[in-house]
Point group: C2
Chain length 241, copies 2
Amino acid sequence: MLAPLIKKLERRFAISKADRAALESLEVIVAPIRARNSFILEGDAPDHTHLIHSGFACRYKALADGTRLILSFLIPGDFCDLNAHLLGSVDYSVRTLSDCTIIQIPRGELNSTLLSHPILDRGFRWMSLLDESILREWLISTKCRSAEKQVGHLFCELLMRLQAVGLSQEESYDLPLTQADIGDATGLSTVHVNRMLQRLRGEKLVEFRDKHVNILNLKALTAFSGFNPRYLHLSSELTGT
Amino acid sequence: MLAPLIKKLERRFAISKADRAALESLEVIVAPIRARNSFILEGDAPDHTHLIHSGFACRYKALADGTRLILSFLIPGDFCDLNAHLLGSVDYSVRTLSDCTIIQIPRGELNSTLLSHPILDRGFRWMSLLDESILREWLISTKCRSAEKQVGHLFCELLMRLQAVGLSQEESYDLPLTQADIGDATGLSTVHVNRMLQRLRGEKLVEFRDKHVNILNLKALTAFSGFNPRYLHLSSELTGT
DNA sequence: CGTCGATTTGAAATCTATCAACGATGGTGG
DNA sequence: CCACCATCGTTGATAGATTTCAAATCGACG
C-alpha cells in the first residue's frame, strides 16, 4: 500500500526491513476521492496525515478575487500535510486533480513510529525539505523564466519526480491536468499556456496532448528551460550527519 | 546574545527557564560581517548553523545569466541554514545586506540540546515551517499581485516580522535595503520598483526613504496589498499535538 | 442532438522591462 | 579643499511580454 512512499525513500536512504515493516503495519484508512475535490481546506487541523497513493492532487490557495493558485503538485508518495500539526493548522488547501486514492495515517501512531525509527524520521524531514526546495525553484521560475521556459521547466520537474516513484515511461508520462491547471500553477493565463504549449510542440521539445506528456527531446528541453535537477535532491545520500 | 531568537520563540511557545538556559549555554562564535558579503555559498555544507543576531541578510540564488534572486529576507532571530545538514548541503547562498553580526552554533551541540529539550525542538521545527510558509506567500505575491501590491505586501510582512523581535517602532522600521534589493526580492526591475514606491507614497500608504520605512496608513496598506498575517503564524500556540 | 468543458484563435489593452540619461550623494585621494 | 568616482535614486521614451475579451472549434457524453 505504501509502495510509492517507500520507493521514494529508498532512493535516498537505507530503509531496513524493520523500518519498512513499521510503515506497513500502520493502521491506515484508504479513501478513494473523485477528481476536483478539495479534501483539505485552509485552516483545517486534520488528526490524520494524508498521503497520495494514486492520482494527482495539488496544494493551492484561493484568493479573495477568486483566483486559485497552485502551490505544488502532489503525486503518489507525497504527503499533503505532513507538518500541519506543528503549525496548528494548514495554511493552504488541498484538492485532487484526477481521481485519487488517499491514505490517511493517524497522527499519533505515525509520530510514535518515527520516534522509534530514526531513519524514517530523517526521511520524513527530508521530504518536507524537498517540498521547500521545490517551492524555491518555483519562485525562481515565476520570477526569472519566460512563460515558455516555465512550462518546459514544469514538464522536466514532473518527469523526474514521477520517475522517482516509477510512474513514467521512457520520456513520457500521464498527466491528468487541463491547460487551466497549468495556468494556475505557473501563474499564466490559460490562453497563454495554450500558446506556449503550441510553441514547445512546434520546436519539437514536448507534446502535451490527451492528458499525456511526451518529451521529444529531453536534452534540448532541459537546456532550454534551464532545468537543473539538483534541487530535487534525488540522488542517494552521500553526506550528512 | 540569543535574545531575538528567544523573543521570537516565546511569542508562541512556553519556553522554560531550563530551555532558555540550555540555549544560552551553547558555545557559540560571534562574527561581525560587513554589508554585501556572501558568507554561505550554494553547495556549502557548514558544520555550524548560522543565526542572525543583528542586521539584515538574505537567501538568494545567482542565476546563470547573472541575475540574483532573493528567496527570503533574514532578520535578527532567523536561522540561515537550520536544515542544511539534512539535505547534505544548502541549495542557495546567503549574504548580508547590511553590516551584521552572525552567531555560529556548532551543529552537534545544537542537536543534542534539541534532543533533550522537546519544546525547543518543536520551536525550531516551527521556525523552519514558517520559512516555508513565507515562501509560499512570496510565490503567491509574484504570481497574483501587481507590482505595486507586491511591494506593499513586502512592507507589511517586514513590519510584522520585525515587530515579533522588537525591532519596529509604532508603524515604522529601519530597512537597510536599496531599491535594487527590493527588485531582486520581488523580481521587478529597479526602475519599476522606484515607480511603485513613488505611487505608494503618493497614495499616502507607505514611505521608504533613507533606509527607513514609514507606514502612513497600515489599515489601508494591508487592505490594498491583500496582506493577511495568518501565514506568519505569529499568534501564540493554541492548538497542536 | 444539444450541452458542457476544454482547446484554439485573433485583436486590443496593459503591465513591466529595457535603454539611456541625469542629478544627488558620499567617500577617496590628490 | 577640490576633483573624481561609484552608487543610488529618478525620469522619459520605447519595446516586448502577457493579459483580457470575445468568439470559434472540438470532443465527450447524456
